[in-house]
């Protein structure tokens, strides 16, 4: 499948230079590739929340659900539980799933439900034109923090490893080859996979220069080692302006999937009336 076949006629309203274009291009290429490799595009569902990131589902000609601010993951969970054979990929922003919907992110990881979450982490509320988010560094001067925020940022990867995520990685919008690799592996991973993407917002928090100087790619040989992964994750805390920023896959383990815990429900293959009656009779 040619990735261009996955485009739509929706007018693109991201700013020129927006990091979302890299995520879009990488995802489109990976989906086209996976379709060829046996993950049919018709069985893929994309889910987004509200924020600049969310427009991505309008630009990809794939089954999609443009949901509610903060609720990307619960909607995706519903879709996945409704039909566990679907391949559900979530797009969310740092405001979307680390502020308004933080509880859902923790529970998706805790349950290890087989979803992929791609975090468009631009570290600013872009659609509402520039307020600080949970990953903005201390001192960030946005429209609601004219004197600089006093809060320290959350390290979302640290939160994810603590919550039970079974696949943790970080990419950067200036590095599409790595994004493609990470997305592909995350989508194929069985369980909850979390890919943090340092996605630069050119309008309200342009970090290209900073990131370009500091990012480096790691190739961990011991992906199942919690302590090693944690060390790597903690080597940059989203706040300090000195340490190098590792990119790549940091952690991957196998664990039971929440979506496989439910016995199959086949409404047409059994006598439903008799089954209900049987259950109720035994209850009484």
């Amino acid at each position: 499948m040619n990735p261009n076949e996955l485009g739509t006629y929706a007018k693109n309203t991201w700013c020129p230079g927006c990091g979302n274009f890299s995520i879009f291009n990488a995802v489109r290429a990976v989906l086209a590739e996976l379709n060829y490799d046996g993950t049919p595009i018709d069985n893929v569902v994309l889910v987004s929340g509200i924020g600049c990131h969310a427009k991505i589902v309008d630009y990809l000609n794939v089954n999609s659900f443009y949901s509610i601010h903060g609720r990307t993951l619960p909607v995706a969970m519903g879709i996945k539980l409704g039909n566990p054979d679907l391949n559900v990929i979530c797009f969310s922003g740092d405001g979307d799933c680390l502020a308004e919907g933080l509880d859902h992110l923790i529970f998706a990881a805790k349950r290890n439900i087989d979803l992929t979450l791609i975090l468009h982490n631009n570290r600013v509320y872009g659609l509402t034109t520039g307020q600080y988010t949970p990953t903005s560094p201390k001192g960030f001067k946005g429209k609601s923090t004219p004197l600089g925020t006093e809060e320290f940022p959350i390290n979302p990867l640290e939160l994810m490893i603590a919550s039970g995520a079974t696949f943790i990685a970080r990419g950067y919008s200036h590095g599409i080859d790595l994004l493609k690799r990470l997305f592909r592996e995350a989508i194929l991973h069985k369980g909850f996979s979390f890919v943090d993407v340092l996605q630069v917002c050119v309008s309200y928090f342009n970090m290209y220069e900073v990131y370009n100087k500091r990012v480096y790619e790691v190739k961990s040989s011991d992906l199942g080692n919690f302590e090693e992964a944690l060390k790597l994750i903690r080597s940059w805390n989203y706040n300090d302006s000195e340490s190098p920023i590792p990119l790549g896959k940091f952690y991957e383990i196998e664990a039971p999937q929440f979506d496989r815990l439910f016995p199959g429900y086949e409404p047409h293959s059994v006598d439903t009336d008799a089954m209900i009656k049987d259950v109720l009779d035994n209850l009484i």
């Binding site: 308004e100 933080l102 509402t128 034109t129 429209k143 609601s144």
Partner: protein, 347 residues
């Protein structure tokens, strides 16, 4: 007296600061974000508290906490955020805690868009959350009133220990007009007769909305209903324009009332006796005068950017089964032609 050109969302903050508001809790949402931005600029400079919360629910619950300690708290949002805040608002109402909430209405339902609408009317005026409660709801139609009603909302919220909502919209929030600053700032003191302020004087005060005993909860509800009746008797406010000899009365609030006013003048220039009745408090709905006008045989047209939500209140107030509706949706403002057409149909 200082007069300055400001936007409606800024005027709310000026009014709140003059009203002695000392805490603001918000979350970014278009078209209300400027209230958050202006609060962040001015609250810290005046040693008042400002927090951008982690969610809409967090913001209203921070308000619940600070207000229960007797502070004058402002929260602001728009449609989707207001829906999220309903849980906190019903607890504020149930516990009788004063708080002012600004709703810069946008078009719905669901995500809708960021254009203006007036479709949060029912949510604001009929309760919005669970339980039999009411908010006091004020509807400004100018930048001046965005400021003045912020002060009035704090006055009423504290007088009745009740949430008060300023129901504006995306146009009122963003339009720029001259604002006369308030004469004098209120210097509030914490009311130790009910607030829970963490000291010996307020130790005996209890603020709660849980009454496990059925009869006790019924008594609490009856007390609330008595309060709402009293608010209805004392606090309704409205504005009239050329209704004295009118055959057709347009009823409109907020930004729609300004468009309706122009329609009144055009209709009059064509010899049709038309007037405008503008509710200023939309809860309590100013029904007595409307009832008088109905008794005189006036025909009514509800002019609103929603699906007849206010028309229901006009029907109740007038007893008229037929109240015409002129409405727009989707972020579009009312067109004068639309109103004129309906006036012509009636005359």
């Amino acid at each position: 007296m200082a007069t300055q050109l400001v936007a409606g969302n800024m005027a709310v903050i000026i009014g709140a600061l003059y009203a002695g508001c000392d805490c603001f809790f918000g979350y970014p949402i278009t078209p209300a974000s400027e209230i958050l931005h202006e609060a962040s600029r001015y609250f810290p400079k005046l040693s008042r508290k400002f927090v951008q919360a982690e969610s809409e629910e967090a913001a209203i619950n921070m308000a619940y906490g600070a207000a229960s300690a007797g502070h004058r708290v402002l929260a602001a949002s728009s449609g989707p955020g207001m829906s999220l805040k309903q849980e906190g608002i019903t607890y504020l109402a149930g516990s009788e805690i004063p708080c002012v909430i600004v709703d810069i209405q946008r078009a719905g339902p669901g995500l809708g868009n960021i254009g203006p609408e007036q479709s949060d009317y029912n949510q604001a005026c009929k309760g919005g959350g669970h339980g039999s409660y009411k908010n006091i709801v004020l509807a400004p139609n100018s930048v001046q009133e965005m400021c003045d009603f912020a002060m009035e909302a704090f006055k009423l919220a504290f007088k009745y220990r009740n949430p008060a909502i300023i129901l504006a919209d995306g146009v009122l929030g963003h339009m720029v007009e001259p604002l006369r600053f308030p004469q004098k700032a209120v210097v509030p003191e914490i009311d130790i007769s009910w607030a829970v302020n963490g000291n010996a004087a307020t130790k005996g005060n209890v603020l709660t909305s849980i009454f496990l005993n059925f009869d006790e909860l019924e008594r609490h509800n009856l007390k609330l209903q008595e309060k709402y009746l009293k608010i209805g008797d004392n606090e309704t406010a409205f504005e009239e324009y050329k209704v004295d000899d009118a055959d057709v009365v347009l009823v409109a609030y907020g930004i729609s009332s300004r468009i309706a006013k122009t329609a009144v003048d055009i209709a009059r220039s064509r010899g049709i006796k038309t007037g405008l009745y503008r509710p200023i408090t939309i809860y309590p709905f100013p029904d007595k005068r409307l009832s008088e006008l109905a008794g005189r045989g006036c025909r009514f047209i509800s002019v609103e950017m929603s699906n007849g939500q206010m028309r229901d209140d006009i029907r109740l107030a007038t007893g008229c089964a037929i109240v015409e509706l002129v409405c727009r949706y989707g972020g579009n403002l009312m067109q004068i032609d639309q109103i004129m057409q309906k006036i012509r149909e009636l005359t």
